[in-house]
């Protein structure tokens, strides 16, 4: 029921807003929250409790407790008491069967007693094991919070913004505002954040106010992530001022969770901000002054307050709230009964120190005040206002009042005093253990309303002073945060080559290849593209290869030491294949190294290895200090591989240089003009046919690609390339090798030159050279026309003994071929092995060397 218009109210009565609340149409005003409007409309049940499904209503009305968690427009766990009202919003109850007012599952409250003590599930439902899936399904749906809409993943967009602040103030109460103003007087860069939406738009001279926004934690380097709804601000602040205030604590007595039992601050908000008459007859029980001020507000609003109980003067033994249908009807104090429909109960205020604790402050029990206060703040972090304990009076209520009925320590998790006592009796005698066992403080309020009461109770039961018990560890995030906000927007940058749009226009199927977007194939049948390369002419975009220049008087010395191969004897204009190994002897990357001049080398790496190889070269050179420069030119230089028996003729038509077999030999590197484009041409057998890898400035990409296609080259994609390379038995680093593979096991024992002085991996390879490898990478040919999956098992005598890493159907070979790791005793040429294909074992023969043109005549022709 609304009161007459009052000064200071936040609602604008000229602007009605309506929405649906648990199926009812509810009207409120602009300035309301969803919760205040529903309350004004007479709604009292906002949620059903976690375990017992007891009806619960507004308790704190300030966003601290679990009682008003509802699903708003499909977003679960929204605190409607602080969520601003909006037209047409759909607000629904959570954790209910049937409806908020009548919940089937509330039978657990009546019969549940013996079935729902703490630890009950852990002990009971563990056996028989096979029934657990059934129990789990039931328990998961019986207990819990809102349900996530599984299809909502992309319905909201989240972003992260990196920001800097000279001074960041957390909390917009009087102390926070004063600190912000004082800081602003000496310069700009002052930001104040507060979770209260009503502070949005507040004018503070020279201060940027962010509200509603929550500081989630304080990390090293002054990092404070701030949750502003769909934006996560990552603030770096030179000074952080915490003014998070103090949080009203509930009293622990039987019936303390009944609807109508409220904290004083919540009642005052309803009256003063939203002009709501929260009840007709109120009793106030309080352990501090704050509690009493509410009595004045209530009287002024026309609520009868027949009784105010000051717990500092009287220490009742028994304090029980009784009610009907989940609502409070009376308070019984040591046998004396007072009727009421509103019971304001206050256990004093506890500094909201969590941010400080998590930042590294020490938290100590202040026996003067009866609460925990922060001390020894870390550098760069300050605290002002009641979070320090300033202005708080001494509170010392009973940890738990006697009487009949369920007495809640933790409303989030439905933990009663009985549960706590049982846990202590069972031997959980440290607060950290008791917390985990009972789950007290682990619910949605994250201890805001149950941490202090649980420690008080603990202290009493174990007869240990609060100071000695200490607190449980405060961990970020301080406030619940949507996972989407932490995950951020999915931003996956794609790299495209300078010829990309030519491929797209030609109808290529584009796929991800590491960070790149590359053509899978241009037509429906990759084998047609394979055939073109074997019979006439094909061209593939290989701009994704990593490309480095290594230059300087000691370039050769650097490369000699990075690669197991030898380079010193290589003449200018020649090319050599190289494999990089780590000092553990493992294969890291491969590529070609062309010597362009005495002190200039051109190195290619795998498509995904460019950045890692560059960093690797630079790191070793930071260690060794050779006079050599490493320049990564991957993006600046485009590359294509022109391959097929007609490639020489096609290239000759586009260049004036002599590319005849005599003038341009296999493994030669020459700088020539191709269709007017300065090009570094490398004659290598990339796909096993006569071919040239042409490297040239990226901007000429589409032009040169067009020229080559006009000369009759058929574009081919990654899939045909896989087939072509497999036909040659070429190993793909990262596909056929993994972090355990070394040069010997991968069949490249010819490559390392162990007589070199030193190279990365030499020591490990020396050891590997002397031992027998357990498994080897070999080629295989299937006996039948079946295609094993990559990763298929090699089976020896009924046991898995290896795996397939590549397999393709090859027209040119006339069989299904592949590469696989097999036990060394099965690695001889011609050995029969069995491969599991679709659950059946199929025979295959180990095949050494290339499957196609094993003498390599075609690429050398």
């Amino acid at each position: 029921m609304r009161l007459e218009p009052r000064s200071g109210e936040r609602i604008d009565r000229s602007k009605p807003v309506s929405f649906s609340f648990a199926g009812w149409k509810v009207a409120g005003f602009e300035g309301d929250t969803l919760g205040s409007a529903a309350f004004a409309a007479g709604k009292r049940v906002f949620s059903r409790s976690f375990k017992y499904h007891r009806p619960r209503g507004l308790l704190c009305c300030s966003g601290h407790c679990p009682n008003c968690l509802m699903t708003v427009d499909g977003v679960p766990n929204v605190r409607v008491c602080t969520e601003p009202i909006r037209e047409g919003a759909v607000v629904e109850g959570q954790n209910v069967r049937w409806s908020l007012d009548f919940d089937f599952m509330s039978v657990t409250d009546k019969v549940g007693g013996p079935f729902t003590p703490v630890g009950f599930y852990y002990r009971t439902f563990i056996r028989p094991r096979r029934l657990w899936p059934f129990y789990e399904k039931f328990l998961r749906s019986a207990a819990g919070l809102g349900e996530l809409d599984e299809h909502a993943g992309y319905s909201r967009r989240y972003d992260t913004e990196h920001r800097k602040a000279r001074v960041l103030v957390v909390g917009g109460g009087p102390a926070g505002r004063a600190a912000a103003l004082a800081a602003a007087a000496s310069g700009d860069g002052v930001v104040l954040v507060d979770e209260d939406a009503s502070l949005n738009g507040m004018q503070l001279d020279g201060v940027e106010v962010l509200a509603p926004a929550r500081a989630l934690g304080i990390w090293e380097g002054g990092l404070v992530p701030v949750d502003a709804g769909t934006v996560l601000y990552r603030f770096r602040a030179a000074r952080i001022i915490v003014a998070t205030g103090a949080i009203e604590q509930p009293l622990v007595f039987p019936g303390n969770d009944l609807i109508g039992v409220m904290l004083p601050g919540g009642v005052r908000r309803l009256v003063n901000d939203f002009s709501i008459k929260p009840g007709n007859r109120a009793i106030v029980v309080a352990a501090d002054d704050e509690g009493f001020e509410v009595a004045d507000d209530l009287s002024e609003a026309g609520v009868a307050v027949p009784r105010v109980i000051d717990l500092r003067e009287t220490r009742p033994r028994e304090l029980v709230a009784q009610g009907g249908k989940g609502r409070v009807r009376r308070l019984v104090v040591d046998g004396e009964s007072f009727d009421c429909d509103l019971l304001v109960a206050s256990g004093g205020r506890q500094p909201a120190y969590s941010l400080l604790a998590q930042a590294g402050a020490r938290i100590e029990f202040d026996s003067e005040l009866g609460v925990f206060v922060p001390t020894e703040l870390p550098s760069g972090v300050e605290a002002v206002g009641s979070v320090t304990g300033d202005g708080l009076g001494k509170v010392d209520p009973e940890p738990a009042y006697g009487g009949k009925g369920k007495c809640f320590v933790c409303v989030c998790e439905d933990v009663t005093t009985k549960d706590m006592k049982r846990a202590i009796a069972e031997g959980f005698d440290s607060i950290e253990l008791a917390k985990r066992y009972t789950t007290t403080t682990m619910g949605p309020c994250q201890g805001k309303l149950c941490h202090l009461p649980s420690i008080r109770l603990y202290s009493k039961e174990t007869r240990v002073y609060e100071a000695a018990i200490g607190t449980t560890t405060a961990r970020p995030p301080w406030a619940p945060v949507e996972l989407g906000l932490l995950a951020g927007r999915e931003l996956t940058p794609a790299r495209r080559t300078s010829m990309h749009w030519s491929h797209a226009e030609a109808g290529a199927t584009i796929q991800w290849a590491g960070p790149w977007k590359r053509p899978y194939a241009y037509g429906e049948k990759p084998e047609d593209e394979v055939r073109a390369v074997h019979e006439s002419l094909g061209v593939i975009d290989v701009s994704t290869l990593g490309k480095l220049f290594v230059e300087g008087p000691e370039a050769v010395a650097l490369l000699e030491r990075l690669y197991p191969n030898r380079f010193g004897d290589m003449k200018s204009g020649r090319i050599r294949y190289g494999v990089l190994t780590s000092d553990a002897g493992r294969i890291m990357d491969d590529g070609t190294i062309a010597r362009l001049a005495d002190d200039l080398y051109y190195v290619t790496t795998t498509s995904t290895g460019a950045d890692a190889v560059t960093a690797w070269f630079e790191w070793w050179n930071a260690v060794w200090g050779y006079e050599a420069e490493i320049v990564n030119v991957t993006g600046a230089i485009a590359a294509v591989n022109l391959a097929g028996p007609q490639s020489r003729d096609a290239l000759q038509r586009l260049t004036e240089a002599d590319v005849s077999a005599e003038a341009f030999k296999y493994l030669d590197a020459q700088e020539i003009d191709v269709a007017g484009v300065p090009t570094l041409a490398l004659r290598i057998g990339f796909v096993g046919e006569l071919g040239y890898e042409l490297h040239f400035p990226s901007p000429a990409g589409e032009y040169l690609w067009g020229q080559l296609v006009a000369e009759g080259a058929r574009p081919f994609g990654l899939e045909p390339q896989r087939i072509l390379r497999l036909e040659k038995g070429h190993v793909i680093v990262g596909q056929d090798t993994d972090s355990e593979s070394n040069l010997y096991s991968a069949g490249m024992s010819w490559l390392p030159k162990l007589d070199k002085d030193d190279f990365v991996g030499k020591y490990a390879l020396e050891h590997f050279a002397e031992r027998e490898e357990k498994e080897r990478l070999v080629g295989f040919t299937m006996e039948e026309d079946v295609l094993p999956a990559e990763g298929a098992q090699i089976v020896v005598e009924g046991f898995p003994a290896g795996r397939v890493t590549s397999a393709r159907r090859s027209e040119a070979v006339g069989s299904v071929i592949g590469l696989a790791w097999v036990p060394t005793d099965r690695a001889k040429n011609g050995t029969r092995v069995e491969i599991r294909v679709d659950r059946l074992l199929r025979g295959a023969r180990v095949t050494h060397g290339a499957f196609f043109d094993s003498a390599g005549q075609r690429m050398r022709s």
Binding site: W219, G221, R236, D583, A615, E618, Y763
Partner: protein, 90 residues
Amino acid sequence: MSFLLSCPFCGPRPVDEYAYFGEVTKRPGPSPTLRELTDYVYFRDNVAGVQREWWQHRSGCGEWFLAERDTRTNEVLEVILPEPGRNSPA
């Protein structure tokens, strides 16, 4: 980890701009025993305290450098440019 790290060239930047390459190790001399080799390749001191480690300003200027960092607090006491042969063992 969210601390700021000072690149010798670019100044203090968020740590996620850097690549961490682990604590400084000592590469053994020629023909190490298997034990010496595996010690170097696989074992780390993993100290709770100050250690010297390799960093690269990967998303910045690309420089490799050494840092003295307290692993307990992530406080970086010093950043040092490598001088091969003097302060930058593998």
